[in-house]
Symmetry: C2
Subunit: 142 residues, 2 copies
């Protein structure tokens, strides 16, 4: 019950109401090893919450990301993914199978802002590296 307590506590600390659905969704993300989509969450919780609506999942992950408990990552094609790792980090995306890996930059980027964007106030940035993951490289019919 330790892990379950954590989800409840995190919600409370964030000032969010604790509902069974939220608790389950946050707990799912805490336990999930990877980057879950809304559909991953929704289908995985079907057993426990047969009547939960997709809207609830969308609402919840949106709120969780607003309070900084999860991070939304929208890379490549298809659905957004949600990451319990909220430290600034970046992603490798496999262009063959869509697999996603975290990575960190050895040093922050240095950018030269063009004249038209003079005064642009940087909030954060994200690097999306595209390529072929090791597994797909093996299966390659090169």
């Amino acid at each position: 019950m330790q892990a379950q307590k954590d989800a409840v506590q995190l919600l409370k600390n964030a000032g969010l109401r604790v509902t069974p659905q939220r608790e389950a969704i946050l707990q799912f993300l805490l336990d999930y090893d990877g980057h879950a989509t809304v559909d991953d969450i929704y289908t995985s919780l079907q057993d426990r919450f047969p009547s939960m609506s997709v809207s609830t999942v969308y609402n919840t992950v949106k709120q969780l990301s607003q309070v900084g408990l999860v991070k939304e990552i929208g890379v490549g094609e298809g659905a957004s993914r949600f990451d319990i790792n909220v430290e600034p980090h970046h992603h490798l995306v496999c262009t063959r199978c869509g697999a996603l890996f975290d990575f960190y930059l050895e040093e922050p980027i240095r950018l030269s802002v063009p004249p038209e964007a003079e005064g642009f106030e940087v909030e954060d940035y994200h690097v999306e590296v595209r390529g072929v993951c090791p597994r797909c490289k093996k299966q390659q019919v090169s």
Copy 2:
């Protein structure tokens, strides 16, 4: 007629059939100052091609990007944008108004690939910097 010749020539060189629609779409992108969406292209060419279908625009931009004549950029929310600038470059996105600016890195990124992704073959990468553009900063009710 110089510009028009260019589009035709580019298509031929790329090994694509030259149709009036393709020529117009490529020409539109060559002339367009910025990052056009499919809808920008579609609505702008309504006058000249009243019966052109959105599918044609999608098909065409997909082919143009396959042969490297344009680059698809999918940043932030909403529709993909298409860029005639195919040099490697990156983007500033305004989180308020969605405005998009090109920028270049002063030096390439250095990344440390995590163990799970050992052997990942990098094809290319794209940096998306989020923040507030100068125009929105002025209008801010801070």
